[in-house]
């Protein structure tokens, strides 16, 4: 992955600048910025509330206010609860460019209104530019809301995957099979240690304990046993044994790779009793770390043989410092590339899941769930075309970025 730089100046530039020299990468980034903008400011672009309005001499900012209402900091004036937003006696009003929300029903335009067909709207301002679905939900507003979901999936799923992948890849690649040696007594104590740590962290405590506390207990019990193991006397117990970290990690990866990801995801998400898009993201991250771990492992195996690591060791730096400050930063290239491709994969996976109707609550609008509506109504071509196009564009730009990165990192 580390290509020889073309010139000295080339090597001085960061990978980001080098990547941007490719035209496809520049264009992909521009599209990505637009998508990020839509995701962040989606509420101001597609909303059935006005951005600003003046009613009976008072100024209101309903879209902004929605945030504080959602947080429970304030409530709506009675007038806004009684009358629909479209029918308030405004003196002046500024509606968002798309005056609909993703889940808002426009009952007068239900049953699949075509973008080009006749719509029952009072003026072009209220037109559904990309049509509506069976319930009269605006497709364009749905696409904008879906952008946020898609980018969040990419961010959170790959965030989880990168964390696990770096940890596992670093353990396997840097420490390998024979770098970590512990006393035989410690290795022996690890077995009951793991069992009891699991017991005291996940079985014994009352249901009210948080996951953070449980993890703390787990590590504490494990550490306790590890320290006890050190104290076991006798020649047999104090002899060092190797901890085959590389083997363990590679075996784990093999297990993950031999289960078809989509089937595993379907099963896990279906078993979870509460369906939320965040669980889906988390689960995608939990099954997609293997690629990152494998590439990082391979890169670290190369890096750790380089002279400067030897030098760092000769200076007496601790293994942890060498790994995190010297070896890891130099081996992150493949991780960045795999992450770019991984984001594309995660977005695709989530859209397949919501297309199949697994794991998304009935209320949330995603690109995949919009696309699945097209199967029931072949005549609504706009439902088949636009959400799919959004998925295609997003997946493609991340693939293009990955491609560009792999030639510049």
């Amino acid at each position: 992955m580390t290509k020889a730089p073309n010139s000295i100046q080339d090597s001085r530039q960061g990978w980001f600048a080098r990547m941007k020299r490719r035209r496809t990468a520049r264009w992909s980034l521009r599209v990505l910025y637009v998508l990020v903008f839509l995701a962040v400011f989606g509420d101001f672009i597609a909303n059935d509330k006005p951005i600003w309005c003046k009613v009976e001499g008072q100024h209101y900012f309903p879209v902004l206010k929605q945030y504080s209402v959602d947080l429970g900091l304030s409530g709506w004036d009675a007038r806004f609860l009684q009358t629909d937003w479209k029918e308030q006696p405004y003196e002046a009003v500024l509606f968002p460019p798309v005056p609909y929300t993703a889940s808002g029903l426009d009952l007068r335009n239900s049953n699949f209104r075509s973008p080009f067909g006749k719509q029952r709207v009072s003026s072009w301002r209220w037109r559904h530019w990309l049509g509506t679905d069976r319930l009269g939900r605006d497709v364009l507003a749905g696409l904008i809301a879906g952008t946020r979901v898609a980018l969040l999936v990419g961010l959170i799923a790959m965030g989880v995957a990168v964390l696990i992948g770096i940890l596992m890849g670093a353990l396997a690649g840097y420490f390998g099979d024979d770098k970590v040696r512990i006393r035989r007594g410690q290795a022996l104590a690890l077995v009951p240690g793991l069992v009891l740590a699991g017991f005291y962290a996940f079985m014994a405590p009352p249901a009210g304990w948080g996951i953070g506390l449980r993890l703390l207990v787990f590590l504490a019990v494990l550490f306790l046993f590890f320290s006890f193991g050190k104290m076991i006397p006798g020649k047999w117990a104090t002899q060092p044994v190797r901890l085959p970290l590389d083997m363990l990690v590679m075996r784990t990866i093999e297990v993950f790779n031999s289960i078809p990801t989509l089937l595993l995801l379907l099963a896990v998400v279906a078993v979870l009793e509460s369906s939320s898009i965040f669980y889906v993201m988390l689960v995608i991250g939990l099954v997609r770390w293997t690629g990152i771990a494998r590439f990082l492992r391979a890169e670290l195996m190369k890096v750790k043989k380089l002279n400067y690591i030897e030098a760092a060791r000769a200076m007496g730096f601790s293994e942890g410092r060498i790994l995190f400050k010297h070896a890891l930063p130099n081996a992150l290239g493949p991780v960045i590339i795999t992450t770019a491709f991984g984001i594309a994969g995660a977005i695709l996976l989530e859209s397949v899941l919501s297309f199949l109707g697994i794991g998304v609550g009935g209320d949330s609008v995603t690109w995949g769930s919009m696309l699945s509506a097209a199967r029931q109504a072949p005549s609504a071509w706009w439902l088949a075309l636009f959400p799919g196009l959004a998925i295609f564009i997003t997946v493609t730009i991340f693939n293009l970025l990955g491609e560009a990165l792999s030639e510049s990192v």
């Binding site: 989509l262 089937l263 279906a270 078993v271 696309l371 295609f392």
Partner: protein, 475 residues
């Protein structure tokens, strides 16, 4: 060769073992009570005599035994000391759940058991009342029944108080039931007073032996007995095997198409590197690679397989109608026109991926010295490309089978869903909607086995193609 294969096979055993553990424990944590699901109508719904209650309990026990749920979960168990090691013998889902909640709260198993038995005793006493009192009994029955499932302290207390009030208001009932009710109250009070909150911190290890759910599930799976579907009450194998056949038909056709097309495309663009054909095919293949198959599938279905737009060029979703009892080949004959679009949708992502790889490895191979030597010898270009370069470019293509095969199986889930092909993916989705977990997890296991077989086949082909992997005499 045989030794090499044996080594690879042995390496897959621990992998599949872990996969089976994952599938098994996921399946046991699935929501819903399989026994009640299998019975479809709740046997505890209408009870009018003690015999009815006994009968309902017996039905549950028998069903649980039929489904293999009346055994301990695993070879051994580690649980807090407060849990008895025989809790699995309670085969009625809601009772086991309530008992577990009570243990969580009070931790004193003998007293909890006593309290729960008293609830049941009171229920029996209610059911054995003569007909003349049944109208009065009907008013307190629902409150009592709630005690089977309600476990939090204030809720139980309010139910008990309510029962007491209702009994006091009806002297005829009071006379017959006061004794049972008093002992229920006492049992509850004792359970509360003598709660053991420390027992949860003491681990207790139980050895269950081979007669456990996992052992039976796995040995059943290995001998082709996949358990019983909770929906329609038929063996899972009878649902899964026909589905597996369609999935394999789809994927084998798709992969044959993908490999058959991508090798010439890849080789051609490698020999014409940088020329128009190479650049055009690279662009098209990259586009294809990024096009989500389930979107393309939906578009093809909407535009070309329904009459809506007047472009019905292909057969619609489903497999077409055949008479029941028709053989597989006859079914396949009818289904073939329906399979064109799904096969295309599974094939094209693989095609894009494989072509790029073939091109890459051919470009590498064409740079080698032996290719230059072959050309220098004056061999015709055809021979150089196909006999010399391509043979050496073949190895990475073969190993790719291991990653393409599972990907196409997974990809066919959405495609089967779109085109209504009753394959494994379609079956999985149906089973998830019906909460038919035995089917879901058998499919998950089979998917893993198929993936592992795919990797094995790739290994085998690699060993066959590369003389450097030592071949034994036998093969």
């Amino acid at each position: 060769m045989a030794r090499y294969l044996l080594k690879r096979l042995l390496l897959f055993v621990p992998t599949l073992f872990v996969v089976s553990l994952v599938a098994f424990f996921l399946s046991r944590s699935a929501p819903g009570d399989p026994v009640l699901q299998y019975l479809t109508n709740d046997p505890f719904g209408t009870l009018s005599s003690p015999a009815d209650l006994y009968n309902a309990e017996r039905v549950c026990r028998q069903t649980a035994s039929l489904l293999g749920r009346d055994k301990p979960l695993f070879y051994f168990g580690l649980r807090p000391k407060s849990y008895p090691d025989t809790l699995y013998k309670v085969t009625i889902g809601f009772r086991r759940k309530a008992l577990e909640q009570l243990i969580e709260q009070y931790g004193n198993w003998p007293l909890i058991q006593e309290y729960y038995d008293k609830v049941r005793a009171m229920d029996l006493a209610l059911l054995s009342l003569p007909d003349s009192l049944s109208a009065a009994a009907a008013s307190i029955k629902p409150t009592l029944r709630e005690l089977y499932t309600i476990t939090t302290e204030p809720a139980v207390k309010s139910r008990l108080d309510k029962l007491e009030g209702e009994l006091a208001a009806r002297p005829s009932l009071q006379a017959r039931l006061s004794e049972d009710f008093q002992s229920l109250r006492n049992a509850h009070a004792r359970m509360q007073a003598e709660a053991d909150h420390d027992a949860r911190w003491v681990p207790a290890f139980h050895w269950h032996g081979l007669d456990n759910q996992y052992h039976h599930w796995l040995s059943g799976f290995l001998s082709g007995d996949f358990g019983i579907s909770l929906y329609e009450r038929m063996p899972v194998a009878r649902k899964v095997l026909p589905a597996l056949r369609w999935t394999l038909v789809l994927n084998i056709l798709a992969l044959a198409l993908a490999f058959g097309l991508s090798i010439p495309i890849g080789v051609l663009s490698a020999t014409r590197k940088g020329k128009a054909f190479d650049r055009a095919s690279s662009l098209v293949l990259f586009m294809l690679y990024s096009l989500p198959a389930f979107w393309v599938g939906t578009l093809l279905l909407v535009f070309f397989a329904t009459p809506t737009y007047g472009m019905k060029l292909f057969a619609g979703p489903g497999l077409g109608a055949v008479q029941t009892g028709a053989g597989f080949w006859e079914q396949l004959g009818v289904a073939l026109p329906h399979l064109i679009l799904p096969v295309l949708c599974i094939a094209y992502p693989a095609l894009a991926f494989i072509s790029r790889q073939v091109r890459g490895s051919m470009v590498e191979a064409l740079k080698q010295d032996f290719v230059r030597t072959a050309r220098a010898k004056g061999l015709p270009e055809r021979t150089v490309v196909w006999r010399h370069a391509f043979r050496n470019a073949l190895f990475p293509i073969i190993t790719m089978f291991a990653s393409v095969f599972p990907a196409s199986i997974a990809g066919s889930v959405a495609i089967e869903f779109i085109f209504n092909i009753p394959g494994m993916g379609w079956l999985t989705l149906q089973a998830i909607l019906q909460q038919d977990w035995p089917v879901v997890f058998v499919v998950l296991m089979l998917g893993a086995v198929l993936t592992v077989i795919g990797i094995l086949v790739a290994d085998l082909l690699y060993a066959l193609a590369d003389p450097r992997v030592k071949l034994g005499k036998g093969l």
